[in-house]
Symmetry: D2
Subunit: 180 residues, 4 copies
């Protein structure tokens, strides 16, 4: 049982990647770069007979997530929300609810979650709805929302000038260490 990082960025080495990498540096981590996978939008079968869900990489990815006890969501703030690819992945959790609701919720409720969100347009104010959305998500899955980092950055690497974000990384790292 360890840490899985869900990278939501559409490019490598963006600021949310960088901050997430600092957070888990030196730790044994399963890294999932969502944009490397084939993830189709959810099909909503809540009120019909379940048909075929998309034949893509979802099951592989959610299985890797459920194997760990800590999830780090690392996303750039795109249009004041999480990235489309990360949202598409989360939407697919409805498939897991449909396929095995009790199992999925039991697993998710035993985990801790962290959110890293990096934006360039007043993220400390305009990123707040994103944080509130995650709170509602974790309330539903009964996952422990153990902390978040909002960072300000635009050009690659500029997050390294955000001193408060870096300090917050150090704080959260201490929790990992204490746990182990």
């Amino acid at each position: 049982m360890g840490i899985v990082v869900l990278y939501g960025s559409s490019r490598r080495d963006g600021n949310s990647d960088t901050l997430a990498d600092l957070l888990v540096e030196g730790l044994d981590v399963d890294r999932i770069y969502l944009s490397d996978y084939n993830l189709q939008p959810i099909v909503d079968y809540r009120h019909t007979e379940a048909g075929a869900y998309p034949d893509d990489d979802y099951h592989e990815l959610i299985d890797r997530v459920l194997e760990q006890d800590t999830i780090v969501f690392a996303t750039p703030i795109y249009w004041y929300g999480i990235s489309g690819v990360l949202k598409t992945f989360v939407d697919r959790w409805s498939q897991s609810l449909r396929e095995n609701r009790e199992h999925f919720l039991a697993e998710m409720s035993a985990k801790k979650a962290y959110v890293i969100a990096i934006g360039d347009d007043e993220p400390h104010v305009k990123g707040l709805p994103l944080i509130q959305q995650f709170q509602y998500i974790f309330d539903f899955t009964r996952t422990q929302f153990d902390g978040y980092i909002i960072g300000e950055g635009n050009k690659p690497g500029s997050i390294l000038e955000d001193a408060a974000a870096l300090t917050r990384v150090e704080e959260l790292r201490r929790r990992f260490t204490i746990k182990d």
Copy 2:
């Protein structure tokens, strides 16, 4: 110049579809069911030479949107946010900014927008971050955010029992009529 409706649901005849259809009933409308199209996630070229953007239906769709002066965003509330397919579409606006920033913003700033969001888990509270996100989006594009409807529904058709949502539809319809 008229109305375009962006349907964000993954199924036809869901509650957000139903309410949007009531809103524009009898009017000349361009209906875009996003899940019918091929829409790939944004590629982030903000800090690199622009490479090839996905060869999919985005240009066709954004052109249809820009032709109208009123945009209705109709989305189910999935995991306390807009649907993944609608988020993916909005994320692609960054491509339009990159391709022709001045044109895109000039067009968007001349439009009115309405949001319809339907959920089944306390949407009048847990849907609020979604509304705040749209406010920030429209602040950025300087689009007039002329109104929203949060509705409560789960099973197909149940939105028709949400009296406040239906009244709000009537109210917003009056604005369309006055305009014409």
Copy 3:
């Protein structure tokens, strides 16, 4: 067991008063116009020996609130929040927690609450933090947050032109009737 209305406005017959009166018209109601009473700010004794709390009307008012099983909070939106006098009253709940925590929480957790908030500067967007604040308050006291109405109005009586607010009043009234 019935309904208590907490009027937070600083003037009589303002729009939040008007809408609250419509909500409870014809019902047996205890009306508390907070601005008619002497309510001093909370004194924080959480970490010291409790000294004397203000000798004012708080105990009378909170006793009247606790006697009923439904609370309606009717407030104008002042500076994007509840009125100062209503906030001062809510702050004093910390005194009740200090004086008899179990009793206060047991009582509050058995009640339903409604919020009416009327503003004139985009209340449907800029009033949302106020609603979220109430949600957190009721989560803490385990009070059932049964509904809210955001209305738009400025001049006295203008709330009567807000058709969606009036419809929402009718909806909430039905819940009272069903209960009785």
Copy 4:
């Protein structure tokens, strides 16, 4: 032209006081402990002839605020919002608008503001509506919202263990220094 700190706590040496004092340590500051003053709730004369406003300390305090070019709002999070006494003070700005709207807005729009909010019940999530409320306030007065610190603390002094809050203090201090 310098800094004014508005202390909203009901007790001295609470955590919001402590953090604000660190923020302005060694600087020339006008300190206003709001609970030391006589501040009555706003009387709403927006739609009537203005009568007598409360004869209390408001004018003295707002004059002291307007003399400075930087305002620090330091408040405990009481019931998921700013303290009642601070809300009462802000509500009274409506009196200043009524008495001399142009002057008040001209003054406020030339200032920078900082917010310090300390709570003990998940303040990094449940304090977000408070931050959004301030954003709307400063949007209205066109005051530059230059930064905020959410801290976690309960017992006096415990804020000194909140490493991220302390780092954020250092960051904001640098802005004061650069300015001078």
